[in-house]
């Protein structure tokens, strides 16, 4: 009994320690992020931010676009299969447009960024830890949070919403292709209906989710990197853990956001 209690207690403390570390890291990064900004910040940090934007955002464009096309097509097909029975095929337009703007755009983007860039962040920082590069930054009076994490976070805050817009656009385009081939609906009319079905609030909630997901992915992944202990094997473990934890927290946060926006009356 005592051992079981000890086990529960130590796990609870470990979880609290993890959440506390995430919070400390987040606030330290927000304080240090000024240096990553253009004009007012450090030129080299801004250059690093631009490089990260290219890696997180630009390099992920083909993958996100293809994923969104496939997901949009699947959603339209599945929706049409049911809606056709009620003679409501035109609601596929609303389904695809709203689902991608509010939900699927941010979520698919976050999943892709978590797998692609989150793992890379954890591996990069973990390797820097193992090879004493983080220590060498500290002894050069440079803070790893400012030097390594700041540019990554700012880049993710820029890239993830942009990728989400691209993702939603391609998802909606896939829906348009489906409607064109199945109902001979002209693309012009399709996009008119799409614009009518989306409200500004849908776009804003989607963007809020994107910013939250970017925060979760960067901080969970980087924390996994910073917590690497030992040798190269622990880098591998931290990479896996970064993807698993950040994806889990993204989905958890998404459900909380969705419930919040639903009950606050918007949807």
């Amino acid at each position: 009994m005592a051992t079981a209690l000890e086990d529960v207690g130590s796990r609870a403390i470990a979880q609290l320690d993890y959440v506390g570390s995430l919070n400390i890291q987040l606030w330290s990064t927000l304080r240090a992020m000024k240096s990553a900004l253009p004009v007012v910040g450090n030129r080299y940090r801004w250059q690093a931010t631009v490089r990260q934007v290219l890696q997180i955002g630009y390099d992920a464009l083909p993958m996100i676009s293809l994923m969104a096309l496939c997901a949009g097509f699947i959603l339209a097909l599945q929706g049409a299969a049911e809606l056709r029975r009620f003679g409501a095929l035109h609601y596929v337009i609303d389904l695809v447009a709203i689902a991608f703007t509010r939900e699927l755009g941010p979520l698919l983007t976050a999943t892709a960024v978590s797998g692609r860039s989150g793992s890379a962040f954890a591996a990069e920082i973990g390797t820097m830890k193992v090879t004493e590069e983080l220590d060498s930054l500290r002894v050069m009076a440079l803070e790893p949070i400012e030097f390594v994490l700041g540019p990554k976070y700012l880049a993710a805050l820029i890239s993830v919403p942009c990728l989400s817009i691209v993702c939603s656009s391609f998802g909606i385009i896939a829906g348009g292709l489906f409607m064109f081939f199945s109902a001979r609906l002209s693309p012009f009319l399709y996009f008119r209906y799409v614009l009518e079905s989306i409200a500004l609030r849908d776009v804003i909630t989607g963007m809020i989710k994107c910013l939250a997901f970017a925060t979760i992915i960067v901080h969970v992944s980087c924390l996994e990197g910073f917590r690497v202990r030992g040798g190269p094997d622990s880098v591998g473990r931290s990479t896996t853990s970064a993807v698993v934890k950040s994806t889990f927290f993204v989905i958890l946060a998404d459900s909380i956001f969705t419930a919040f926006f639903y009950f606050t009356g918007g949807h």
């Binding site: 080299y44 004493e132 220590d135 009076a141 440079l142």
Partner: protein
Amino acid sequence: MPIISIRGLVVEYEGRRILNDLNLDIEAGETLVLLGGSGSGKSTLLRQIVGLERPKRGSVTVKGVDITTCSLSELKKIRHSIGVAFQSAALFNSLTVEENVALPLREHTALAPSIIDLTVWMKLAVVGLAEFGKLHPQALSGGMKKRGAVARALSLDPEILVLDEPSAGLDPIVAAELDELILLLKQTFQMTVIVVTHKMASAFHIADRIAMLYQGSFSLVGTKDEIRASREPRVRQFLDRVPEELANPANVSAYFQRYLERKEAFL
């Protein structure tokens, strides 16, 4: 007044005592070699001297500032006067050798880019890497990486240079070149140099004083002659390269008996 003063330093990891009540003064301009076997606490002591870790008890005073209790901004100021070359070199793989050396100058000085380039070239020339500045660390040999790390440590013209096992894993010629480099730096720039090593020849070549660590305590701190003349068993064991089992004279006959038995068995 010593440039570095260590008083009653106790370091523990997970309840295990690594450094046990150490006291040491290091005078400005001297070369102190920290000698000791693997796991004796040399690198831990070094990390304390550069303020990478906080001790359980005791103080480390660098240039009159107790770095175990001072604020982060004070510690950063102190770190500007300390150059550190880690055992693994810890050069940033994403930067060229030139960029690695330029990093502290870009971050901590307002020098014009042309002056930084010139300074970097000079530092690389001192360590014999002037022609290799454009390469990334992955393209360098082990010895070149270590010299690159020394060049980076020298970039801000520090008063104190700390080298963690600079000749570990290097062939005797490259190791000898590094020893000559350390002597050159001391003579030319009157630096205080702290070198961690377990290579006796290197230690006796470069040291003004040698501090011998054994299981977290100093066995002896003295000049080269004092160390050579010492009858302290641990020092003698290290100097005479006696395996652990033979340190106890009662084990000697048993050791050789086993050796002869094995030899006979093979014959």
